[in-house]
Symmetry: C2
Subunit: 128 residues, 2 copies
DNA sequence: GTTTGACTTCAACTTATGTTGAAGTTTTAG
DNA sequence: CTAAAACTTCAACATAAGTTGAAGTCAAAC
């Protein structure tokens, strides 16, 4: 009854880079930053799980939202440190990302409001 | 018939910093970056015009939109290099800022769309 | 078993947006 | 005039998010 999908470490740095759309150096950077984790071969090479590509895709979406690596690290604590996340965990993460996105949208709407109330942009020289 | 408002250089770095809400070092940085210009006293000290506080306020709004100093420099080319901008010039700038803001909002809306079409966040393991 | 292509670590470099501090000069108040 | 406050330039530091390259090690194919 063991799962057929091998989730154990088998993905190399460059595999993961290819699968997730970031560079190999970024993959290493994310591991150094604690956004992803890797097992090591006896020879000390990194081995990721297939699910890590998912994790990196989440990182990329979060970056589009405007979150920093530090913020993203916090967000990813919604997922388990080990093994595949449950649907519920993914949902919680998704929800958090949606909320962050809406926050940024609200900030931009404030900017639009400020831009419209002209005098806030800058007190225009009053017409004579 | 000369104007009563003295627009000629009379504002020091720290005056401008106070009036615009940024630090003195930021004021110098913006001048170095070409976002604002200053005349110099015989002793080589910077002297800004009162209108420069406006310019810096625009810079700050533009930063809230997410524009870089480089982008902002381009934007500010909508204003005259010298003297007070006309209402039309301010309007053009405001319009450009609104457009940029809307662009960012659209980008965030794309993120929201991606977040909603779950499989884009990451292909969730299909429920058995 | 050896070669070739990945992989490892680590330090230095990059861009952006400033801040901080040193050493020296101007301005201003008295 | 002179002393204090503010100004000048310039170089170094700070943080974010990586990239690049050197020197050495590992894995895979033949």
């Amino acid at each position: 009854m063991s799962s057929t999908t091998e989730t154990r470490a088998s993905v190399t740095v460059s595999d993961l880079a290819r699968d997730s759309g970031v560079s190999a150096s970024a993959v290493r950077f994310y591991e150094d930053s604690g956004l992803i984790t890797a097992e090591r071969t006896p020879g000390n090479q990194r081995r990721f799980t297939p699910g890590d590509a998912c994790r990196i895709k989440v990182i990329r979406v979060a970056q589009r939202v405007g979150l920093s690596v530090h913020d993203i690290k916090t967000l990813l604590e919604l997922l388990p440190e080990t093994g595949e996340p449950t649907i519920e965990q993914w949902s919680a993460l998704q929800k958090a990302l949606v909320q962050e996105t809406n926050k940024r949208v609200r900030e931009l709407n404030l900017v639009l409001a400020d831009l419209s109330s002209d005098t806030k942009l800058c007190a225009l020289t009053p017409l004579t």
